[in-house]
């Protein structure tokens, strides 16, 4: 399984670190739809989700020099930023945004690497399966933490269950997912 599609992502990361703006386009072609899906899942608002995605890509661009692949892949880095931006907005912490001036430049769509796209689809299918295999309570609890940005204490309040129950659900749920994915070679 290609996981984070390291070869292509690594190439994009190297381009980003050289200041090559076409790398952002390539990254957008690969993960723009996924990033928006993630932000939308958190915010349930297209406009706000697109703002979070924009901020995520721009942040990757601005901070590419500090990117260290040994600490995680480019995709995960991008998605973690987009997630955090979206959760900031969800929790009412979105920063005021300066006006953005648009020009009329059109950008041609990039050509995505077909194998990378296939590998990503396969990987995502396995991950969805791992998530769907979880008991409903564990899945909902993990979802509130990851997509809702809630702490364990807040989850306990929202689900009206003891804190210890929440702790058990997140621990068992994530460990089950991990075991499931390890068994299928998705994660090491």
């Amino acid at each position: 399984m290609s996981g984070d599609a390291p070869d292509e992502d690594g190439q994009i990361a190297a381009q980003l670190q050289r200041g090559d703006t076409t790398a952002i386009e390539a990254l957008y072609d690969r993960y723009g739809g996924l990033a928006l899906g993630l932000a939308y899942r958190i915010l349930n608002d297209r406009s706000a989700a697109e703002d979070a995605v924009q901020e995520g890509f721009v942040a990757v661009w601005r901070n590419a020099a500090g990117f260290d692949a040994s600490r995680g892949g480019l995709r995960n880095w991008l998605l973690s930023i987009v997630r955090n931006r979206a959760i900031d907005r969800l929790r009412g912490n979105a920063r005021a945004r300066a006006e953005v001036n648009f020009d009329s430049t059109e950008h041609a769509d990039g050509v995505a690497d077909p194998w990378a796209a296939v590998a990503l689809d396969l990987e995502r299918k396995q991950i969805r399966e791992a998530f769907d295999e979880l008991p409903d309570a564990q899945r909902r609890t993990l979802g509130l933490a990851y997509f809702g940005g809630l702490t364990q204490v807040e989850i306990a309040q929202q689900m009206q269950v003891p804190l210890g129950t929440v702790k058990g659900r997140v621990r068992i749920g994530l460990e089950r997912m991990r075991a499931f994915l390890q068994a299928r070679g998705v994660t090491a």
Binding site: I24, R46, Q54, V58, A98
Partner: protein
């Protein structure tokens, strides 16, 4: 802050990986990681698994303008950077008290200060930044900060603020070397609230950055060493200086 013991940390590992701890809990965990490689590694593995939850969502088709907005933001020359381009946090806030103060920031310095900035930054060995700065000199305020005598002896930072453009460049040298996974994180302090101004992770103890904002509203500048970018400092500054008393 009460130290977290091994058994307690074990219980919090998964929630840490999911960013589901309160600020105090997370801070205690990160303190624990300093002395517990086993849990540090376990947390990293669990975080990698947690990050896969992002892949359970369905793709959505962005609007036709989103690509253009992004490319506009990354391509805009500094002199016309209307783009909103702050550095990203690595994790969401855990409590309302931790949330950052909202304010617009821009990270592009108008290419206006080559002469001053070049002299400053070349002197500090951060000449790579200079290529991005061009244009006429503006009124400036310069500050020199020294590293903490214990945590960063010999470290020095030079910050030059260009008043009319509300932009600054900063370069630091002689910072303590980073361990694996650590970053330098810069902060501006306003009314006691530290605002994340970005990270660096050079291996040679140097750090250079550019920032924008009205520095008259900030009282201090600081650099900490963190285990990845943080919302709030989790360690004492290795370098801290007052902005309003600058030379």
């Amino acid at each position: 802050m009460t130290a977290m013991n091994h058994a307690e940390a074990e219980e919090f590992l998964v929630a840490y990986a999911l960013d589901a701890l309160t600020g105090d809990e997370r801070q205690r965990m990160e303190e624990h990681f300093r002395s517990c490689e086993e849990h540090r590694d376990a947390a990293a593995e669990l975080r990698a698994t947690a990050s896969l939850l992002a892949l359970t969502v369905e793709d959505r088709d962005p609007s036709p303008t989103l690509r253009r907005r992004i490319m506009e933001a990354v391509s805009a020359p500094p002199s016309q950077s209307g783009a909103f381009v702050p550095l990203p946090p690595t994790r969401p806030p855990s409590t309302p008290a931790e949330r950052r103060v909202a304010r617009p920031r821009r990270w592009s310095v108008r290419p206006a200060y080559l002469a001053v900035a070049a002299a400053l930054l070349f002197a500090l060995g951060a000449g790579a930044l200079i290529g991005r700065l061009t244009g006429p000199t503006a009124s400036t305020v310069a500050y020199t900060f020294h590293g903490d005598a214990t945590r960063a002896p010999g470290a020095q930072a030079r910050l030059v603020y260009f008043k009319d453009q509300q932009a600054a460049v900063v370069a630091a040298t002689g910072l303590p070397r980073l361990a694996s996974g650590q970053v330098y994180e810069m902060w501006l302090i306003k009314d006691g609230v530290p605002l994340d101004e970005g990270i660096g992770s050079s291996t040679n103890g140097d750090l250079a950055a550019r920032m924008t904002g009205d520095f008259s509203q900030f009282q201090q500048f600081a650099i900490t060493i963190e285990p990845g970018e943080q919302r709030l400092p989790t360690t004492m500054p290795i370098l801290l200086g007052n902005l309003r008393a600058g030379s």
